[in-house]
């Protein structure tokens, strides 16, 4: 087969294997943790893990849609930080205004991203790099260079710290978002258009798809979800934090890609992205437990080496599996 066809086949298979592969890796890691550490599968650990990673899951979901159009959103972390500040400032007026303000800040940044990218024709990487800086600066300005307390009265705190049906509220929110996201991707025109734009933008335009609107929509979505993550951040930690969110974008990108989504766009999966988030989130947790066993005390430095190696193993494995499938 000619290479283009093969690479297509490869890409398809990659997404499939990626989807299953990441799930298998996730299950293996859970099994490893359960066998090796006490209390690893205890409800306290599981629930706090879910509560904490819900924020990343939301950000990664938005990133997933952006990446499927062939774009990238580097601003998510800074936007989340900015939204956390905004919602913290508004939190004395109640849950709904705070939620609206935080998500609104995210949507607005997303809109700026989308407009600049779709109408200004500036590449996503550079556009969102700039808005990342700007959002970071705005967060610091709004917060006066320090964390902003949220109001501890009222419902606002419950959003991040509360439970519902015995499950952490942030995790429930994330689960709902993924359900909707999966539905939107697979069963709506928006989802299909997203993949079409990423698959071949020129073709999508000539086919009469609303390319610009799709692009604007994914960045708005990503901004909004980052904003929501920011509100949860403020609520969960009781403070708007202008300096949080550094590195979230890389975490999200890694989760999306580990989930088999193609960075050049056109192929992607929402469910596998969630597995990617949990997989990467679990590693931090396992490293903490490993330190707790006291057999070896891993310095922070070794931890980053191990995280890098782990990422390497996952992506190499994925690539090998794909090669065997298609070769």
């Amino acid at each position: 087969m000619p290479p283009r066809r093969r690479s297509l086949g490869a890409a398809r298979a990659a997404s499939l294997i990626g989807r299953q592969g990441v799930l298998v890796a996730l299950l293996l890691l859970i099994l490893f943790g359960a066998l090796r550490y006490d209390n690893f599968l205890g409800s306290y650990n599981v629930l706090s893990l879910l509560r904490y990673n819900a924020m990343f899951a939301l950000v990664a979901l938005g990133m997933c849609f952006v990446i499927m159009t062939g774009g990238i959103d580097l601003s998510v972390g800074a936007v989340a930080a900015m939204a956390s500040v905004v919602s913290a400032l508004v939190s004395p007026y109640g849950l709904v205004p705070a939620l609206a303000a935080g998500i609104g800040a995210g949507l607005l940044t997303g809109l700026v991203n989308g407009l600049v990218i779709a109408w200004g024709g500036i590449l996503p990487f550079i556009t969102t790099l700039a808005t990342m800086l700007a959002a970071n600066g705005m967060a610091l300005l709004l917060a006066g260079n320090q964390s902003v307390s949220v109001s501890w009265e009222g419902l606002f705190i419950e959003l991040g710290q509360g439970d519902l049906f015995g499950l952490p509220v942030p995790a429930l929110i994330a689960a709902a978002a993924y359900l909707l996201g999966s539905l939107a991707l697979n069963y709506t025109a928006f989802g299909r258009n997203t993949l079409a734009v990423g698959g071949n933008e020129e073709a999508a335009r000539l086919m009469g798809l609303p390319v610009r609107r799709v692009k604007i929509a994914v960045y708005v979505l990503s901004g909004g979800l980052a904003g929501l993550a920011g509100v949860i951040l403020a609520s969960q930690f009781g403070a708007g934090q202008p300096t949080e969110g550094a590195g979230w974008e890389l975490f999200a990108i890694a989760a999306v890609v580990v989930g088999g989504t193609l960075l050049t766009g056109g192929i992607g999966s929402v469910g596998a992205t969630l597995s990617g988030v949990l997989l990467l989130g679990l590693i931090f947790n396992i490293l903490n437990f490993e330190n707790g066993r006291g057999a070896i005390s891993l310095s922070a430095y070794w931890q980053s080496v191990i995280r890098g190696l782990f990422l390497l193993v996952v992506v190499v494995l994925q690539s090998r599996l794909t090669a065997r499938r298609t070769g």
Binding site: G121, V305, R320
Partner: protein, 332 residues
Amino acid sequence: MAELSLSKRSEAPARRMGRRMRDWGAPLALLALLVFNVAVTPNFLTWQTFFVNLTQVATIVIVAVGMTLVIATGGIDLSVGSLMAIAGALAPLILGGSLFGPLDPTTAVALALGVPVLVTAALGLFNGVLVTGFRIQPIIATLVLFIAGRGIAQVMTNGNLQTFSNPSFQWIGLGRISGVPVQAVLMVVIVLAMAWVLRATVYGRHVLATGGNEGAARLAGIPVARVKLAVYAISGLLSGIAGLIVISINSSADANLIGLGMELDAIAAVAVGGTLLTGGRATVIGTLLGALIIQLVRYTLLANGVPDAAALVVKAAIILLAVWLQRQGASR
């Protein structure tokens, strides 16, 4: 109808002007910044200011040149900062004799300059192998070393600050050649060499063809894999050089901090300079201008006492503006 066509008619000249904008966007932006500074910033027009800016921008430029090549092939290299840290961590270990044992001074300096750079070039090659051999997307392939690389540097030094003093080694950071800082000379040499390579050599054409359409390039007999391996290796090598410069200026190596955030600075310089981030079109001179613009923005904001937070917002606006100027008239 008639009105409509009239208004449309003016499009062609506008676009032609746009095309000129692309070629002149970066120099114009730079000029505007210079004029602004001469008017506003105190003591701007001095040699000292000139050299301060040159020395501060040198490492970004050196790294960004490698980044330009990588981006020209349609890739990206996030690991540059971590590679700088590895080079920076290795050199003092060699100088201090804890790696190869005590050495005579000349050998020590030679090894301290050579080995780290070779190591980072090899690590760059490793990135290249992941990209070509395992077909891993560049951003993820280099994310591996972005995360692990700094960890390796930290493990090597146990996270400790290594201070040293070795004038002949530190010549690359502190020395001057007839009054001009060595690192600035090095920067200019590297920029000119790479600009020439990209423009005049077969390899340069191969780099651009690979980024322009990989499938077609392969069928035209271009050794695509080898071309890519080389750009990542070059990027690694240049990162290593930048790492050595940073530690010699500071007389100390801090694995935690050398090159932190360098990837973003370098990518921004490349983009502002007019290289296409999707590959296939690249300009090394543009990258130099892009880096100078970013440096000058930073200098302007600092020298005029703009608070950090506000400076971030301004920097964002200027980057977007510069890139937008580039865009005008680029293929539509």
